[in-house]
Amino acid sequence: MKQKLLYVLVLAAILLSACGGGGGGEGTTLRFGWIGKPDTLNPAYAFLTESYTVFDLVYSTMVTEAADGSYMGMLAKDWSVSNDGLTWTYHLKDGIKWHNGEAFTADQMAWAINAIMKDPDGWAASANYTGGFAEVTAPDDKTVVIVTEYPIANMDYRVSFLYAVYPPDFKGFTTSEDLQNFTNFAAIGTGPFKINTFDKDTGVLLLGAFADYMDGAPKIDGIVFQTFDNTDAMIQALKVGDIDVVNEVPASAFETVKGYEGVTATAINGRYFNELIINSADPNLDPAPTGNPALADPAVRLAIAHSINKQDIVEVVAQGLGTPGDSIVPPTLGGGFWHSPNIQEIPFDIAEANRVLDEAGYALGSDGVRAKDDLRLEFRLQFPSDSAVYPRIADMMAGWFNQAGMKATPEAVDPDALVAATTPAGDYDLVLWGWGPDPDPDFILSVMTTEQFVEGGWSDSGYHNPDYDQMYLDQQQIVDKAERQKVIWTMQEMVFNDRPYIVLYYEKMLQAYRSDRFTGFIESPLGIESAQSLLNVTAVK
């Protein structure tokens, strides 16, 4: 009997809370739904994107990426570089305050950067950004000077990740490990929003507007971040108005979400792409890679490229929410500045694929698989098992390959096992996978370098091209943007023509918000949740 009463009470509570959710009337607090939650708010050791979404709102950097892919001042009002490209001078804005009311000074910024340089192990998440920095000083209250050992091409991008952390919060750590374990859940920054509370178990994060923000206070009272276990539940919450923003709408649900009343769904070209990796590892490596040697033949690679209908993949697998891809540098990087326009796409043409293979001497066998001597065009086609997208692509691809006399056997592999099989073992033929490149092309270009094909490295294709490697090193030190662009275009063309990757398509970034409650979101590759966007958001009266 008691048991029954309990059930009734629980049921009533659930019903009540369900009714209460739709009521609104919480002032102008934006309710933000996402899958996942930040595991730490310590920029020294944060690796999840969710953490960086919060940093973007709570912390500031001297410069930051603008919606159009260029860089603009944030803490800095202007900045310049010396003629030799070694000395960078940043002039800070006036009247910048920490969330606790104290004044922000240039030597605090210099301290934050120096902290990373002194303890790169502790600041593992940021250490890459200060590589090559020789000295960082604050000659006066409003000026920060960074002197580098060699010219750094992507300085703006790097500085946009050097957060102005509150020195007293980070001064007390004696070992790198202590610093890494610091969760910083009550972070103090200079950003437009300050942390009110963070419940690390439920992931509920409350941010309040910072009234003294240097560029003027946000027009909303605050933001509540709420973690969901699955996307269907999150989309339902948006539909009924329990949350106002969803920062990741699955492609398969986008059309439906677009139809919801009072909801605006946005689809903009993002940075993420999916690719087919062709084993390009050096056959002389020890232990020897196990890729089908036929894959080293440029004719076979060309035939594979002709046998992939990228447009169809976009339409069927990405529900039309993507663009067929060509280069490893997506067109969104730097607002399109870095993407090579010189790449001639290989058209989908099974007849041409067959012709290329005929000409190269691969004769069709009685079992429908082409072979030349002991080279049989039979490949493993593996993909990480944690995605519902790749099995669909693999299926379609195997069908097209089959028409061209090539046999591909799709196989789902545990992602960790796939990392072990690709880098640096080269124990695969073809793999489907994806990348989310940084805003600066440097990272995605590094994925193709020989030196990254090591345990823990980023290269999974095993592409090894000394010319490419040299150009990669060169572009890192070309401060002149136009010069650097030329090198980077050539590098992309090399990768496209050698085909260690066949880039399949660029995904669109799919987001949605309740336009009957809030307006003013800025749609850009930075996302509608970027600080610039949320600073512009106002409640609908």
Binding site: D232, S252, A253, E255, D312, E315, A388, P391, A412, V413
Partner: protein, 318 residues
């Protein structure tokens, strides 16, 4: 032919006469047999291969098309025909279920017979192993096992891993059941007589014990089948199946991962759900009825007629 086997055959025909009159049993048999037929004749039942993409006149893939646009069951997130996925899915689901079920039956029977017949230390050892497996929660253990085995990169197909893990974990109830039967049978006079005239252990087990418990094993296997199919679907739904081969569980997994619910695509997730219910219900009905009819304790009174232990119900059950 050995006398015991003739007895078994005679019992079988008697049994069929009784079974015919049991409606639940017949319904269960119907459900199971239809699904086996569907799996066997899958290519005849659908014009599409499971990986075919259904396209409109313009050649564009039809994703999430409702049954009104593409019959009979619409298309899924990648434009596949749901009906053909369902029909071909029966093959994988039933194959995994049957193989795992048979492994479980084999291991369980072996453990049960050995433990029951030899008793003593062997019994103790085998039953403690059984106990340990019985107390560990199945699902988490299987999740961990499947995930770990896959991570080892042993080049075993995901389906084989599933079959092995399910088969090697679901034999415990069979082992206990068989053991208890063997314990009673081995005390019977005809066994004692066989032993007295010098029959070896192997002979006694093969000629006297096995025929007696065979019906029990059959009934139990059918019951285990339903569990195995359910578990396969569960694991596949959790993403541990083979996404390149449609099974009912992987269909549900895709439906869940690819927002079928948000899209209102009921034709994508209801059919595999019903299919799972269809087969497992069939197995459970059939298995329960078989068990009821074949397990002497549930039917015949020990003072009643026949000398043999396999009771022949005088009238059909109810």
């Amino acid at each position: 032919m050995n006398e015991n086997w003739t007895l078994f055959k005679r019992n079988l025909s008697d049994f069929w006469k009784a079974f015919r009159r049991n409606r639940l049993g017949l319904a269960g048999a119907f459900l199971v047999i239809t699904s086996i037929l569907v799996a066997t004749f899958a290519p005849l039942l659908t014009p599409h291969a499971p990986s075919d993409i259904i396209r409109d006149e313009g050649g564009h893939g039809l994703t999430f098309a409702p049954p009104s646009v593409h019959g009979p069951l619409g298309t899924d997130d990648a434009g596949h025909d749901v009906w053909s996925q369902l029909v071909y899915g029966a093959r994988i689901s039933l194959m995994v279920g049957f193989m795992a079920g048979f492994i479980a039956m084999f291991v369980g029977s072996l453990f049960g017979i050995l433990a029951g017949y030899f008793g003593g230390r062997i019994d103790n050892l085998l039953m403690r192993i059984t106990d340990i497996l019985l107390v560990i929660p199945d699902l988490p253990l299987m999740l961990i096992l499947v995930a770990t085995i896959r991570q080892l990169d042993l080049k075993i197909s995901p389906l084989t891993v599933l079959i092995a893990v399910i088969g090697l974990l679901y034999w415990t109830s069979t082992a206990r059941l068989i053991r208890s039967q063997v314990l009673t049978i081995k005390e019977r006079q005809f066994v004692a007589r066989a032993r007295a005239i010098g029959a070896g252990h192997g002979h006694i087990i093969r000629k006297h014990i096995l025929p007696q418990i065979m019906p029990l094993i059959v009934a139990n296997t059918v019951l285990i089948l339903s569990t195995a199919i359910l578990v396969e679907s569960g694991l596949a739904f959790l993403g541990l199946g083979d996404p390149t081969q449609p099974s009912w569980g992987t269909m549900l997994n895709f439906a869940f991962d690819r927002s079928a619910i948000t899209n209102g695509a009921w034709w994508f997730y209801l059919p595999p759900g019903f299919a799972i219910v269809w087969v497992t219900l069939g197995c459970v009905l059939l298995g329960n009825v078989l068990e009821e009819m074949l397990n002497p304790r549930l039917t015949a009174h020990h003072l009643e007629g026949d000398q043999n232990m396999i009771a022949v119900p005088a009238k059909g059950a109810e």
